[in-house]
């Protein structure tokens, strides 16, 4: 079997359990909340419209935004809890709506008969309206179940394990096998869950007259088995596992997957057990480390300087690095272990032969010829502060400024359609296309030095600190670029890139 596929399938049990637990807990809570709400709404007309409007509005908020809002509301907490809260909010609409519709579309002559023979309102609800509405309610639950399985993949973004781990990691590291395994697994789970709930529906509809038939008994057995198996698996995955000594976090791009892998490998070598929470948003990751849900990750000084400290000046690499380290220690109780050595920032780059032909080393060298050159940037570069600062500091401009998607941009410079591009210093494609980065000697571009951060609690462990401190200033721009290239350009696995970095750190 294909090595990559084998590696992915090894992850399946963990991701499957995580996904199943998320889905079943969210769906169970969703049902437990939505059906009573639906019933309540049909009893009090004043409540009905506001309720239906509210659940519809929740539905229109993009799911990623709901996740982010829930994390913020829970004070930056990541993991199972925010994922479940968001999923519950999301699965309410079809259940509430179908409960209301089901209860309201019961034939009036049946309701009149129920009242007329002397049933109390409560008996009418439990003996007539709910049983008759059940098929419609279950149809709503089926819709909710399929949605929940799909949306649970997004839980990865807030640090809850799901099939989304396959999808997000795969998308970022160009691992199509991982994306496929994750998508197929989610689809299979959705179909299975839908069939089980469909089975329940069939059983409730056929309960009275077929209770004795062979087919009915088999179906009941199958559905019962499905339910018991699903819930016990979900429960099993929630059993307190021997919790890892440390949790490593990472953002959703290749470099971060590699660095998280490196930190984890180094700690494991030192004898610690480690969990990884990958693909987290920058703010989520920062908060999670501040509150101790994550123990270590790699941040960039410029990100803290501009996003957190809201500074707009550029006092240079050293000042930013030190200010960022002080800020996160004083404000959020984190510890900066030190810089890793490389920077991840925008840089101008040219084909090596072209740079030599024009004799260009620094941006100052570009100035005499700049107005004859064609420059290319990614979709946002020419709108960013980096470009404005570059333009104003050097008083530089180009003959043409084109924007491309990154892939096309590298192809364009390779084919000499443009003279220079704005790329990232650590982008593997700079190495792959043998481009020369042009030095920003006047420090116009805000520095983004990689910094190794740890949570306050983890920092109290001397062995943890000494293990990670050994990485400080050990990874050069070139080394990081090469590691990224292995994954992004050569299609190698993240663990190969980690091994490569380890070979650089300890030659």
């Amino acid at each position: 079997m294909n090595e990559n596929l084998r590696e992915q399938l090894l992850l399946l049990p963990e991701y499957f359990q995580g996904h199943l637990a998320l889905t079943l807990i969210a769906l169970t809570l969703g049902i437990a909340i939505s059906i009573p709400l639906g019933i309540w709404a049909t009893q009090s007309p004043a409540l009905k419209r506001p309720l239906l409007i509210t659940v519809s509005i929740i539905q229109t908020v993009p799911s990623i935004a709901i996740l982010a809002l829930v994390v913020a509301l829970l004070g930056g907490q990541i993991g199972l809890l925010p994922a479940i809260v968001a999923l519950v909010l999301y699965c309410m609409l079809p259940i509430v709506r179908n409960t209301v519709t089901g209860l309201e579309t019961i034939a009036p002559d049946v309701l009149e008969a129920a009242r007329g023979i002397g049933m109390s309102p409560r008996q009418i609800l439990t003996r007539v309206r709910l049983p008759l509405a059940l098929p419609v309610i279950i149809a709503g639950i089926r819709t909710a179940a399929v949605w929940t399985v799909g949306l649970a993949t997004l839980s990865t973004l807030v640090g809850a394990t799901s099939f989304g781990n396959y999808i997000f990691t795969g998308l970022q590291t160009r691992n199509l096998v991982a994306v496929t395994v994750g998508s197929v697994a989610a689809a299979v789970m959705a179909v299975a869950l839908d069939s089980i709930i469909g089975g329940i529906q069939w059983l409730t509809e056929n309960r009275s007259q077929e209770a004795s038939s062979q087919q009915f008994k088999r179906a009941r057995l199958a559905v019962l088995f499905g339910i018991v198996a699903g819930f016990s698996l979900a429960a099993y995955s929630l059993l307190p596992k021997p919790s890892a000594d440390f949790v490593i976090g990472g953002k959703p791009f290749t470099e971060q997957y590699i660095l998280a892998g490196l930190l984890a490998a180094e700690l494991q070598n030192a004898g610690f057990s480690v969990d990884q929470r990958l693909g987290l948003g920058t703010d989520i990751l920062y908060e999670a480390t501040a509150n101790g849900s994550v123990d270590a990750y790699v941040e960039y000084s410029g990100t803290i300087w501009s996003n957190r400290m809201r500074e707009t000046e550029n006092p240079g690499k050293e000042v930013v690095l030190e200010a960022a380290a002080n800020f996160l220690e004083e404000n959020d109780g984190m510890v900066s272990i030190g810089p890793l050595g490389f920077q991840n920032l925008y840089t101008l780059a040219m084909r090596r032969d072209r740079a030599e032909e024009l004799g260009i080393e620094t941006i100052d060298d570009l100035l005499p010829v700049a107005r004859t050159l064609i420059a290319a940037g990614d979709l946002e570069f020419f709108g960013r502060l980096e470009w404005i600062s570059l333009r104003d500091t050097y008083n530089i401009d180009f003959a043409e400024k084109l924007t491309f998607s990154p892939t096309l941009m590298y192809a364009a410079i390779d084919e000499r359609q443009v003279d220079l591009i704005a790329g990232y210093t650590t982008d593997g494609r700079i190495a792959a296309y043998d481009l020369k980065t042009i030095e920003d000697s006047r420090n116009a571009i805000l520095p983004y030095d990689s910094m190794l951060l740890s949570s306050a609690t983890a920092a109290q462990n001397p062995e943890f600190m000494s293990t990670l401190s050994a990485l400080v200033n050990k990874i050069s721009d070139n080394a990081m670029r090469e590691a990224n290239r292995l994954v992004d350009v050569d299609g190698r696995s993240v663990s190969d890139a980690v091994a490569y970095l380890q070979s650089i750190i300890r030659p």
Binding site: E112, R115, I117, G118, S208, Q209
Partner: protein, 255 residues
């Protein structure tokens, strides 16, 4: 015994009256036929008796007690009601439908079961054949008979029947009419039966009340109505069965 005293009902705050100040009394063991054109207020009158509707004015007494003083659910469980729309519970089997009121009254299961058998036999349906069926597996006429059985199941003293035999073929209908009349006499039931069929009313009722536009035009025994109709409308109503009867008479003697 059922007594209505100056009962009025308006659904539109007094602009029009579905039932406009009617009074009548049905003695214990009596069967009152309630007849009138569509929209004349027959169903509304029945519903006020078991408090499915509340009158705007007037009093209704059942067995001498004002229905306003009674718990509506208790009241309804003690009155058999056959609904114009039948209204069987589609998710219940025939047996569960028939057992509905005894179950509400908390009878013990054995008694419910034997009563179910008896009532189904009473309306001419074989228990073994029908008990486990669902209403949607029955013909319209069979559903109507289950409706009758459900109303009879809890052995009520009072029955309100809204077009109970409408969906039946003529022979079954005649059989069931006679059967019911027999049951009613045996059990001494007090009954109000709404019908559109004057022949049915003439043959089954002890007295007949004719309604029009929410008012009772005339109330009297079948022969009183036949021989002394006080309104043009009542005269027209009894004309048709009388002419048919005379016609049949002639046919029988001519052979």
């Amino acid at each position: 015994m059922i007594e209505l005293q100056n009962v009025q009902k308006s659904f539109d705050g007094g602009m029009s009256y579905a039932v406009a100040e009617i009074s009548f009394k049905v003695e214990r063991g009596e069967l009152l036929g309630l007849i009138g054109e569509s929209g004349s207020g027959k169903t509304t009158t029945l519903k006020m008796i078991n408090r499915l509707e509340e009158p705007n004015q007037g009093q209704i007494l059942v067995n001498g007690r004002n229905v306003q003083d009674r718990n509506p659910e208790q009241l309804r469980r003690n009155i058999g009601y056959i609904f114009q729309g039948i209204g069987l519970f589609p998710h219940y089997s025939v047996a569960q439908n028939v057992a509905a009121v005894p179950t509400l009254l908390g009878w013990d299961p054995d008694r419910i079961l034997s009563r179910c058998r008896d009532t189904l036999e009473l309306v001419g349906l074989d228990y073994a054949d029908y008990a486990e069926r669902r209403p949607d597996q029955l013909s319209g006429g069979q559903q109507q008979r289950i409706g009758v059985a459900r109303a009879l199941a809890a052995e009520p003293e009072i029955m309100l029947m809204d077009e109970p035999f409408g969906a039946l073929d003529p022979i079954t209908r005649a059989e069931l009419q006679e059967e019911f009349k027999r049951i009613q006499k045996n059990l001494d039931l007090t009954v109000i039966m709404v019908t559109h069929d004057m022949t049915e009313a003439l043959l089954m009722a002890d007295r007949i009340a004719v309604m029009k536009d929410g008012e009772v035009l005339q109330i009297g025994t079948p022969s009183e109505l036949l021989n002394n109709p006080t309104h043009e409308y009542v005269k027209k109503l009894v004309e048709m069965p009388r002419r048919r009867a005379e016609h049949l008479e002639r046919l029988m003697h001519s052979s």
